[in-house]
Amino acid sequence: MNNTFDPKNPRVRHAHQKHALNNPAVIIFNFIILIALLIGGIALLFFKESIGWTLIGFSTFPLILIFWIKNYLATVPVGKSQDFTDLISPDLLLLLNTKTTPTDLVKILPKTRSGSFFMTRLALTIPFFEQITPNLPDSTESIYNTARTIREQTKSETINGAIIAASIIQNLPNYESILSQLKLNPEDLYQVINWFNHLNGTIRDSKKPVHTGGIARDFAFGYTPTLQRFAINLSVRFSNVQKVGPAENQTIINQIINTFSQGGRQNVALVGAYGSGRSSIVQSFAETLMNADSSVPQNLKYRQIYSLDAPSLISAATNQGELEYLMIKILNEIYSAKNIILCLDNAHLFFEEGPGSVDIANLLVPVLEAGRIRIIMIMDDQKFLEISAKNSALANSLNKIIVNPSNAEETIKILMDQAPYLEHQKNVVYSYQALLEAYRLGKQYIHDVEMPGCAKLVLESASSYSDRGLVTATSVQTAIEKSYGVKVKVADTEEDRGKLLNLEELIHARMIDQVEAVSAISNALRRAGAGVKNQNRPIGTFLFLGPTGVGKTELAKTLSEVYFNGEDNIIRLDMNEFVSPNDVNRLIKDGASDPLSLTAQVMKQPFAVVLLDEIEKAHPSVLTTLLQVLDEGILRDEKNREVSFRDTIIICTSNAGANTIREKIIAGEKINDFKEAFIESLISSNEFKPEFLNRFDEICLFKPLSKEDLIGVLDLIIASTNKTLEPQKISVTLTPEAKQVLIDKGYDPKMGARPMRRIVQKTVENIVAASILSGAAQPGSTLTITENEINVS
């Protein structure tokens, strides 16, 4: 096997001839000559000039040439040997020569269709290839050899630009680490080559004629005017569209064919979650039936699938009687026509009363049981269970087929197949990384739509965030962030990184002391921001223990303001309102009936701080419900929908053991010295169960505030008062003596910082109010409050 380029290989000449001749200009020129010679010849013969025969004779030359170009030159088949030149794609044959170096290869890549596809889909830019050029081997031999191996592994017809590009990358020293930097792995290179081959094959297949039965196909089948008014003909719409689905889809289609081609109940219920590809299966089935070349039984060939539009049917009827009359008319037409398969999408709409739905089970069940009309029903598993519970006769009359969501590999294949259609609609190009990210983030954030529909939805929304028409992984992340209000990107801007690195400093601008808790929270956020957090858990779960007024709730609020886009992004539940077992229902209530339930609030605001205050007061059943949230970041609401807490920080606060903490600190002990024993004592005194405490990332003990700490607290309170006065351009300062008086008055080791806020309100704020009203404080002035004024007030 030769791994060098042989310019004398006949395929090289063939490719050059193709390049020179197989273009519209040459074909049109030849065609004009052909017509001119023919017309000229016939005209001369008409005028009795025998030279006309010569012209007609010579007109065969352009005819032969056109036929040769279109049927021989247009394709350059692979050679019979295994020599490198016999395996190269036609466009590469034009661009290679014996002196081609690896550097030249890099320049050649974007000039080939497959090479350009490979670079675009993997977002590998020309500067990237220029950057790696110095590390390439000296000769092309090893690149060609690797290309040969990739061709075999990907079962490609030829060695094309995409394969050469992958080969160039694989010939780099430490190529796996280079790919890792691009968040790719070697398998991804092969996937993109397969993607190109698949699309190339689809384009080739689309040029083949499709036989759909001809003009007399429906002569033996009846007219269906009423059905056509209320239904969409899927067979006409999808007769030329070949859809790629998981291998399981073909099995399901075969099951449907078996059901419909044999005797018995002529119905199929496709039961699966929304987005799992149920409609695609029906579309593929429709395409199969309409294809004359497909191997379906004769009694199913050219049968057409009509999807009944429930809303238009319901809106056309003024009452139940009229609706039943219309339905009977439609069913009669279907029966008489003999070539219709009725499809009921969202079939539950026909079996329940409600807006946009109507219960006509009494009409449909006999039809289903009789089996004279072929019906396909599409419904989700929950609705199927509901219908089964309500109407067992209906459930028993259905041939149920379960449609499972596609897995990662299948979803990516489906997205690769669907991408050109989406690209045409949205006028963008999807990168391979965008497809992978759509699957990953769709799985993580979209819980009510299954794969592959879910990933497709993500790709559709990501098209609005394309970078100069290219939808990248970042576009997908932005789409998810904008749609779901979460942070999925690794901190990549200077501002984000700076914020995360200086989080402690930012929090301490609003918080005094409690260094341990602040540091634990900051570390959790840094892990999330750097993308190293466990994706299947919340960002962080913390239990804050300590006396009242030491900053437990304040820390949660500060965190919300500093990192979670404002103090409003806090979901706060007072757990002393959840003291009975029945209160579990209030936690998971559907948002429509209780917008303040925990699940409803997190659904609306998935990127937030969840603050569960006074957790020790909650009923044990409530705590048990919360175990799954702390562990997996998931809680199911009453409608069994998964609600993700994976983008929240969960903070539980408790005063349990507050006196012990205070006593130990007053006795001069350090928190770390008694923390473990203290937690053990909480378990032994049955205040918390060990399995509950074990679920937290960290249990932080808050120490009581000292008089020195209160100086800082007072400064923060005065700063807050000044912020309130800012619109009036008035500010307040306190003399050191005044501060000392306030601290002496406001210090209460049992109550922490809370009394201080009240004292400031009674003294400082009253003095300021009086000064403003009396005109003593004018805009632009600074009020200095002294010890005496405090004492008087």
Binding site: L45, I64, A220
Partner: protein, 126 residues
């Protein structure tokens, strides 16, 4: 060189490509006229008009009435299909004959200029 290659291909692979293309065209014509469907459903009621069958307990008059209706529908169906069947068959046969002639003429086509020159020299006119 290219011209020689072109003529070599014409007599080798080109001929079979041409035959394949003609076969494809004939298949398309057969599909267009739904020949197999027409033959299979030749006696079926046209568009299922009046195709209902009377039930066992229907009156004799109704049964007869329906039988006549169906018979008419079948006759209409038979004739419309037959017309299309005959038209299709004629076109397919014509297409087949033309295809056969073209296949036979295929090796002569490159010699057409020589034949043209000979006819000119001989002085053949219309």
């Amino acid at each position: 060189m290219a011209i020689a290659e072109m003529f070599l291909w014409w007599y080798a692979h080109g001929w079979s490509v041409f035959i394949k293309k003609l076969r494809g065209h004939l298949t398309n014509i057969i599909d267009f006229f739904s020949m197999s469907s027409l033959v299979r459903t030749l006696f079926q009621p046209f568009r299922q008009i009046s195709a209902e069958t009377a039930s066992a307990d229907s009156s004799l008059e109704l049964k007869f009435h329906m039988f006549v209706d169906r018979l008419v529908s079948r006759i209409v169906g038979f004739f419309s299909r037959l017309i299309l069947l005959i038209t299709g068959t004629i076109i397919i046969v014509l297409g087949g004959i033309i295809s056969l002639i073209l296949i036979i003429l295929w090796p002569i086509i490159p010699f057409a200029p020589i034949i043209g020159i000979i006819l000119t020299i001989v002085g053949v006119t219309l």
